[in-house]
Amino acid sequence: MFLVPFAMVLLFIVFHNRKNKLIQEKIIEKKKFAAELAESEIEIREATLRNISWELHDNIGQLLTLAKIHLQNSDNDPDKIKESVEILGNALRELKALSKSINPESLKNMNILEAINNEIDRFDRMNFIHSHFEISGNPFQIPQKDEIIFFRIIQEFFSNTIRHSRATDLKIRCIYENKILKILVSDNGIGFEITDESKGIGLKNMKTRAELIGAELDINSIIKKGTTLTIQKKYHET
């Protein structure tokens, strides 16, 4: 009979300790998540600034330089002046598009699909790569924190494709099916060795971030064939 009060106390001690341990783990997890989220946001901003710099230099800057050369060599030739005006008009349009795409308010309210579209528009403007974006299923809303992490992972992939892969085609597929969001991004670049340690840190970073939001991430790469990124997460019914 003395066993019963002892067992009762023991049961509550075990549960109380487990509860406290789990709460501690949750707090640490939450802090880690917040830190990663903040870092992702900073990286997105940095990437955006880098993209603006490229776009100003390689696109708008080029158009303005061209217009300047045309005007310098025009000798009041109406045709050349007209051509310069057209180039200036193009530059102005590009500037407006750029301004719209980097407006903090519109960036804040953008969902993952709009953000990807924005990136693709930029690739088109810059003639970086031929890209194809496809959405299947019925898009559903996902938490903003997840959108940030998803987008950062995809942005990192885009950046690697543009900078290192020498790819000519980029395909993005967002599949919404049975409360699962699956994003597939692939290029036809030179690929890389998955076991290559120099690439390992970036991949590990992507995987860690995906794990933080409970998503599954997989990267496959075949030398001279290209690289494919797959991220997916199941969302429960609300």
Binding site: M1, V4, M8, L11, F15, R18, I23
Partner: protein
């Protein structure tokens, strides 16, 4: 009627009242089984108490042992998904009951092997339930889970009941201690039910 009977009946009645008050809150969950079961327990106890002098009431308790075992098995199956194990446990219980009936009959003596089998089953399944619960995030709010309180009550009851039953079975005369212990264990068992229904209402 003796004082311990009043205590048992009072505890069962309070548990029934709590089960009725919070019925709407838990009727969609597996807890629903406990309202009819507690009403049956209470009525069984009343009938057994009032007819104890004139009739052979052991059959009522024997029937209660079988019903309670089936209720607990159903509930643990819903809680921890026993899968094929429930059939194994059920077949073993049938054998045990058959053995008791064959060796002692069902009318007069209690189905003691069946009670001990039931106690051992509830103890094992309670431990499995707690181990599973400890691995879940739900453990953060364990005290808000009606299942936690009901299983705690069952675990404590049978944890105390098994050694008592063994001591009595060995022929030791511990009548007073036995009655006090059973009252104490009933407090734990029905206390578990009462808190369980209460927290189900607050959930």
């Amino acid at each position: 009627m003796k004082i311990p009977n009043y205590i048992y009946l009072s505890l069962q009645l309070i548990a029934c009242i709590f089960a009725l008050i919070y019925w709407r809150k838990y009727k969609q969950s597996s807890l629903w089984i406990f309202l009819p079961f507690l009403i049956y327990t209470f009525l069984n106890e009343i009938i057994a108490t009032y007819f104890a002098l004139n009739f052979k009431i052991r059959i009522l308790y024997n029937l209660y042992i079988i019903v309670s075992f089936l209720v607990y098995l159903y509930w643990f199956d819903r809680l921890i998904k026993l899968k094929f194990w429930k059939w194994i446990i059920l077949i073993l219980f049938c054998f045990v009951v058959f053995y008791d009936i064959q060796t002692k009959g069902i009318i007069k003596p209690l189905l003691k092997t069946a009670i001990n089998f039931e106690a051992a089953t509830v103890l094992i399944l309670s431990v499995v339930f707690f181990m599973k619960l400890l691995r879940k995030d739900e453990v953060i709010g364990y005290y808000k889970l009606p299942e936690f309180w009901i299983v705690s009550g069952l675990l404590m009851f049978y944890l105390g009941f098994v050694p008592l039953s063994l001591i009595v079975g060995m022929g030791h005369k511990i009548e007073d201690l036995y009655i006090i212990s059973i009252i104490f264990l009933n407090f734990l068992l029905y206390g578990g039910y009462i808190i369980g229904f209460y927290v189900s209402g607050k959930r």
